[in-house]
Amino acid sequence: MGKRLRGETLAAFTMVAPAALWLFVFVAVPLIYVLGLSFCGQDEFGNAVFEFTTKNYANLLNADYLQIYLRSVLIAGATTALCVAVGYPFAYIIARTSSRHKSVFYMLVIIPFWTNSLVRVYGWKTFFSGTGWLSSVLMGLGLIDAPIDLLYTTPMTVFGMVYCLFPYMVLPLYSAIEKLDGSLIEASADLGARRSETFLRVILPLTSSGIFSGSIMVFIPCLGYFFVSDILGGGNADMIGNLIERQFQSANNWPLGAALSIMLILITIVLVRAYQRMGGDMDALGV
């Protein structure tokens, strides 16, 4: 008995150990490092030196930063709202259609996933710039007289975010909508409900978990997708992600960057906990 148990323990250990080690080295250690760094000070050259201080956290409340946080939340909120508005009908159609093209629609969402999003965002830049495709075609058609440059605006940033994060909204929505029992929709119609009433009273409440998980999957990464606001927003729409990036790349204030990162992680944890509280399914988040 004891021997057998030891054998099982050994087997379990050999299976779990590589994954645990991987997680420890590549997730836990960097996190602990960032956490430690966020309590460090700086010498006169800007290098991080260990001296326990909370001034980095105090600096987070800088008025300029608060404005960036607010903008981040607004952009992420707008991105999430747009993703729901466009993603819900889209996911509904591909989830409920009996068409044999169902898998094609599904792949149309998945395929861009396989290409580097940085590359794709640069693609949009050439499309929307003053000398880009859109402008040239519209001028060629005589619809506009002077080139239009849509780049480097907040709406452009939101557009880029929606574009990059759309699949993260569609996939949880798709799985929630596909799970919906079709006979519930029929039962609702049978009891006198019109399509709009069925949608509001039955379909929407039963797929709200998909909306919640999709929103979390869009909102949180959106706060950190600095390259989108960099490339398409051109510094006019800085977000928390840009702020963190700048601490490490140009301002050379690693401890402050670490404190910002820790704050972002805490926000994430709070949102995920709220999602769990509302009865959200952790599997739907893919975590």
């Binding site: 006979s183 029929e186 039962a187 609702s188 119609a189 009891l191 019109r194 009273r201 039963l206």
Partner: protein
């Protein structure tokens, strides 16, 4: 008998692509009756029900409810309600909200909703469950909620799609009686779909037996059992012995003689059968007899194989020369031939059912092709 027709399905065909699921269906449902659509899976019974409910449109033909054609009318525009096989209770609503759903949509005043819901829950014996959620109920309770939710709308016709299919046998038997009692009490027309012939026999005023999209026979349970009009109906309802043969003598005043592979048999005279026609004979095990001597008009013989004791009844299998088996039943205690003994099966000419064989249509069709 009330003869007012409440649902009239006339010449309805339904195709899914090339698949002909319902063909030339004609069915008149009388007001206040309990009518069952009976058949094995894929026979088109559920499709027929869904066409009445408005979830499917007939490819051709017409359905009238209370005399009005319902073509193009959505389910919510028809005064019929459906009880689904999966119950289809809204999981995010309490039992009260589930039952009140249709009333709220219909904008019934709040006070009326409360009384109507509590009345109907009392009727299905679910008082005190108002605040629970469907997930907290047993299968039988969910079923009652589904029925209450449909009945609270006061439908002209209640459509039930295998509502007891998911319940265990004991609960199913109990619910069958309850449903029947409920239907009698309310006087609402029930159109019920099931594949369980016993269930159909227990509950129905009339049964419509469907097979391969065709309505084979419509009649009372007794008619269906005693006078099946097709071989399918004879074999699907209860146990029976089937003999296929050819009419070799017709004496319409005395008897019809049929030649089988294993010998000749005699059946009671009846109209509509001609010499040379292929026929099917159905004899219920309780009507089949055996004798130790050959009987006049019968030249079947076989060997007793074994006995099965089923409580008060003994079932006996007899093997015919072509290795087909026939089965008869006796009450326990009757004297029986021994296994291995040669016996001569026979029956009273009135105790069997003579059925036109569909092969005749095939032969006629083949002949006409040859003529063309």
């Amino acid at each position: 008998m009330n003869e007012k027709i409440i649902v009239d399905v006339s010449h309805v065909d339904k195709y899914y692509g090339d698949n002909h699921v319902v063909s030339d269906m004609n069915l008149k449902v009388r007001e206040g009756e309990f009518l069952t659509l009976l058949g094995s899976s894929g026979c088109g019974k559920t499709t027929t029900l869904r066409m009445i409910a408005g979830f499917e449109d007939p490819t051709s033909g017409e359905i009238c409810i209370e005399g009005n054609p319902v073509a193009g009318k959505a389910p919510f525009e028809r005064n019929v309600n459906t009880v689904f096989q999966s119950y289809a209770l809204f999981p995010h609503m309490t039992i009260f909200d589930n039952v009140a759903y249709g009333l709220r949509i219909a904008k019934v005043p709040k006070a009326d909703i409360a009384t109507r819901v509590s009345d109907i829950l009392e009727l299905v014996q679910l008082e005190g469950f108002e605040r629970r959620y469907p997930a907290q109920l047993s299968g039988g309770q969910k079923q009652r909620v589904a029925i209450a939710r449909a009945l609270v709308m006061h439908p002209t016709v209640l459509l039930l799609d295998e509502p007891l299919g998911a319940l265990d046998l004991k609960l199913r038997k109990q619910m069958q009686l309850e449903l029947k009692r409920l239907q009698r009490k309310l006087g609402i027309t029930f159109v019920y779909v099931t594949h369980d012939q016993e269930e159909a026999m227990t509950m129905s005023d009339r049964i419509a037996v469907m097979h391969d999209g065709v309505l084979d026979q419509l009649g009372t349970p007794e008619e269906i059992y005693e006078r099946p009009q097709t071989k399918f109906v004879a074999t699907f309802i209860g146990e029976t012995n089937i003999f296929e043969g050819c009419v070799n003598e017709v004496d319409t005043t005395k008897r019809i003689s049929v030649g089988l592979e294993n010998g000749n048999v005699t059946v009671a005279p009846q109209e509509g059968f001609r010499f040379g026609e292929f026929v099917t004979i159905s004899v219920r095990p309780e009507k089949l007899r055996v004798s130790l001597e050959p009987r006049e008009g019968f030249s079947l013989y076989g060997v007793v194989r074994d006995y099965i004791y089923v409580g008060s009844v003994i079932k006996c299998n007899v093997v015919l020369p072509n290795s087909n088996e026939v089965r008869f039943e006796r009450l326990a205690g009757d004297e029986l031939p021994k296994p291995g003994e040669v016996v001569f099966p026979y029956w009273e000419p009135d105790d069997c059912v003579l059925i036109h064989n569909r092969d005749n249509e095939l032969y006629t069709a083949l002949e006409s092709i040859r003529l063309v």
